[in-house]
Every structure is written in C-alpha cells, then in structure tokens.
Subunit: 129 residues, 2 copies
DNA sequence: CCTTGACCTTCCCGTGACTGGAACCCCCAT
DNA sequence: ATGGGGGTTCCAGTCACGGGAAGGTCAAGG
C-alpha cells in the first residue's frame, strides 16, 4: 500500500506519516521506485499512534507506549504509570484553563459591549487600581 | 530603569521583555551605553501584557488589546469581541481535554497496574475489538 | 589601577508536532 | 507527447519564548 491509501485508511495526513518515519516510529519498506510500501503492521502502528495522539500523549509517550505494546513481557504497571502521569498533566491544564475561563467570564459579563470606551476588561488588564 | 529591575518588577523574564521589544509591543529608550531604559509607560505596558498572557490571550490578541487600550475612542464592543472569541477557544480546549481525561480515567481504572502484561489501555490503543 | 562579578548587549539554535511549498520523479491514460 | 495525479526530498515556518555563546559596561574592593 502507498502512502495515500494509508493516509485515507488511518485518517492521518501523509505529511504526518512521513514525519513518523523520520523520527523512527514506523519503518515502512521501499519499492524499487523509492515509494514507501506499508504492511499491515505499519497500518496497525499508525492507528495506534493516531489513537494515542488523540488522547493527547506526546510523541515520546507514544514511543514508550508502542514499545510496551510490543513487549509481551511488559508489566501493566508501567503502562498505567505513563497514563497516569499524562492524566496529571491534562488535569493541570484543565485547571489552568478553568481559571482563565472563570476570570474571562466575569470580565465579559461586566463589559457593556457597546460603542462607549469604558471597559472593565481593559481596566483589569491595565491593573485596575 | 534597566531590564533586570523591570524583570523583577513585572515578573517577566528579561528574555521575554526583549522579545516583546523585538516584535514591536514595547519601545523602550536606549542609554548611551546601549542599555534599554524603561519608562513608567513601558512598565505599565509590560504589566498589561503579563496579565493578558496569563489569561491565555495570544500575542496577536495582546497587540490588538493594547491598541484598544490606548485608543480613547474605542468601542467596548470591540474588546468584548476579542475576549469572547478567546473564551470560545478556551472552552473548546477544555472540552477536548475533558473528553481525553474521561477516556483516560476509564482506561486507567480498568488497568490492574501490576506486573502482568494484560492492559486495557494498550488494548484500546491497539484497536481492541 | 586592576580585577572581579554582576549586569547588559546581540545573535543563533532548539523546542513540539507538524504544515506548506518548491522542485523534481513515476506511472497511466488519452 | 502530454496531462494529471500520484510519489520523493528538502527547506522554511509555526508559537512564544529559553539556552547559551561571545563580548561590552559598570560599581565595588584590593
């Protein structure tokens, strides 16, 4: 299978697939004309990567997770550790964003949003005394 | 005031302050020795920028907001529009992250986390059916 | 007077995970 | 022969800085 078909099948852009090869996440074969030839195992890995990335895992986490996936003697504790650490990051980010949203929400509510210049949003940013 | 003092006062790293000058957000004066000399107005702008960035506004949004801040004839509607658009982005991101967290949370709960290899997390990533 | 150390300057590279584009090759159909 | 739709590589850019090198400046201490 060529890269275009793989892109369609996995939903990943061809550029991304080439990038994943660049950084060593997949190793497709090559045809005589230089085209990448993808086997089922490559497809499978790309789907794995797509799902892991959709859950927000970093590329390095993906590398770790794929290694664990392929290691039949893994301990599920190792997987869980990676996942929990990632979830911690996500929760931290959610907390940050919630704080921003709350502040913004108040400011937006307080702003008339008409053609006059008075604006509590700008007052706040300017360091309202 | 030199950049170090400004960094201490605003809480922004000196690197960041130089960067903000680079991209034209502030225009401090220069002493004869080439050192930046910051006026109160520069301090004020930097504090403004720091707060806007802390609320997650992009640099371009900050540029817009500062222009509105300095425009006495602004309409608060314009400010509100920028803020609402930004809040929309934040809410979208929160929604994404919440979805990730929920999925991860289920997977993590389902994972034994011991020294055996069976792992629902990897099963899911691998396309479990 | 000289040195030390804390500042300051510019400049360039790296970050993460791609995306866009240029320039070029390959294959099939008309 | 030509056109179009694949594929290939490589380079540059994204966003908002951070790290670090190489070198100029300044106040204090010996």
């Amino acid at each position: 299978m060529n890269i275009g078909d793989v892109a369609t099948r996995t939903g990943l852009p061809a550029k991304t697939i080439r990038y994943y090869e660049d950084i060593g996440l997949i190793k497709p074969l090559r045809d005589d004309n230089g085209y990448r030839r993808f086997r089922d195992q490559d497809l499978h890995k790309l789907n794995f990567l797509g799902r892991a990335r959709a859950l927000g895992f970093t590329i390095e986490d993906c590398r770790t997770l794929m290694a664990l996936y392929e290691d039949e003697t893994r301990a599920s504790a190792d997987v869980k550790k990676v996942a929990r650490s990632h979830m911690g990051q996500i929760e931290a980010k959610i907390a940050d964003l919630n704080a921003m949203r709350d502040t913004l929400s108040h400011l937006i509510d307080a702003c008339a949003g008409d053609d006059r210049p008075d604006c509590p949003i700008l007052q706040d940013l300017g360091g309202k005394p």
